[in-house]
Point group: C2
Chain length 265, copies 2
């Protein structure tokens, strides 16, 4: 199958039109599991989107000290670290769009006046892509989401989506069940491992793979094992792999950050 | 045995004089192991002290992002977090003085014009206390160490040193062998556990116990197990316990931060 280098527009009618064409093709791959996640359907999505869009952007200090003192979440630490690494005009990947929160955060980081920034978002479930598209539209309005390209595919196939030789600064994963969603619908270790391998190949020097692993559900620990095993296997001369977790909250999500060391620094 | 509320002066002659008086008394306690650590004797201590005193003070962002990208050490993250929590005039404890690096960092954090700040430093080995005293003198000069009170006692007995009812903002541990020293001379789990329990009792609301565990030596993993077990046992409503570690460097030190939640925030 040739690479899918023609991104989908976020304009809803084009989005749906392109999906219908692409889905049969994309679902043929044996590397992708059947849909296992369902996006949270929330009546107050518009309010949530507006609130998210207007949230003050925490610095790393506030996020980390807040995490240490139990006032901030691991996801806030992740976003703060992303902001310190991602620049306007960068290309980034949201490997698990879900309800679109991370996609929106990434859009705000890369969107630039020259129109070079790109967020390639993917989720194996059509409904998650639709939710993300709606969420972005509500948060940013009709004309501000041009840098986001959404695909209803398994994240293990991100190399078919991101244009070849494009330097990717960040690949973000949010693994497990969707907060507020059905905890039996989860990402699974096999395709997550393939996706991590793909992310490590497309990441540019100096870039970051960010993995937030939710473990408070059946299968969560198995997935964490896979991510930790992958992180531990990365050679120390070219990768820095670190883990941040709460230890007196055994089911709190674990944040794993994998930096492909910048060879020029 | 009555509490030891009369701190030792840092002036070397007084320090040694007081040691001779105190050591027999202090060593009587069955809770303390015999000396197991030896401070690093370094010919370039004066240069190291001067360099340490003049080091730029990293912010949390620079330290954490540097850690994530493999450019900064866990100890630099620890110091940056301490600086964000400790204030001028605070009382803090260096539970493992060793070569005095942490003691110096803490002195710079708490020293204030009103003379209220205090660093209570301890180490089971006399030679470590002597090294720390010399290191501080070389780094800060003769007259700048007044806030530091050093005691050659096991850290499990910190409650006998810190004046009763003094709010303690930070208790810092640096566990294992001394960098550059003999790796067979290590802190041990039993007294470390007692010391952590003591620290949790004297810490003020909003304060932090910081534990850097070196694990690249025999016994290091056992000590980490004890610290993790203690951290995991702290009730989540009153404590936030987090852990930061490199996962592709299996013997890299592990940083565990335990915050006694501020009940008034």
């Amino acid at each position: 199958m040739p690479p899918l280098h023609s991104p989908l527009s976020l304009r809803p009618h084009l989005l749906l039109l392109r999906y219908r064409t692409l889905i049969p093709l994309l679902r043929r791959s044996p590397s992708c599991e059947p849909p296992l996640r369902r996006p949270k359907r929330c009546l107050s999505m518009r309010a949530a989107a507006a609130a998210t869009a207007q949230q003050p952007e925490l610095g790393v200090e506030e996020a980390v000290v807040g995490f240490v003192t139990g006032k901030r979440k691991a996801t806030e630490v992740a976003h703060a670290v992303w902001r310190s690494i991602v620049r306007k005009g960068d290309t980034v990947v949201d490997a698990t769009c879900g309800n679109g929160n991370d996609t929106l955060a990434l859009l705000k980081m890369v969107a630039d006046e020259r129109g070079q920034g790109r967020v390639y978002g993917m989720d194996i479930q059509d409904s998650a892509i639709e939710s993300t598209s709606s969420f972005l539209k509500m948060a940013m309005g009709d004309d501000q989401q041009e840098p986001v390209k959404l695909f209803p595919v398994c994240h293990s196939r991100m190399e078919e989506i991101v244009p070849k030789d494009t330097p990717v600064r960040l690949v973000a994963f949010n693994l497990g069940y969707l907060p507020g969603g059905d905890k039996t619908l989860i990402t699974v270790p096999r395709t997550t491992e393939l996706a991590l391998q793909a992310a490590s190949r497309i990441l540019s020097s100096g870039g970051l793979i960010s993995v937030l692993v939710y473990i408070g559900h059946p299968g969560g620990r198995d997935e964490l094992d896979v991510v930790e095993s992958f992180a531990s296997s990365l050679p120390v001369d070219t990768w820095a792999s670190c883990k941040l977790q709460m230890v007196n909250r055994p089911i709190a999500p674990v944040l794993i950050l994998l930096n492909k060391k910048d060879q020029f620094q």
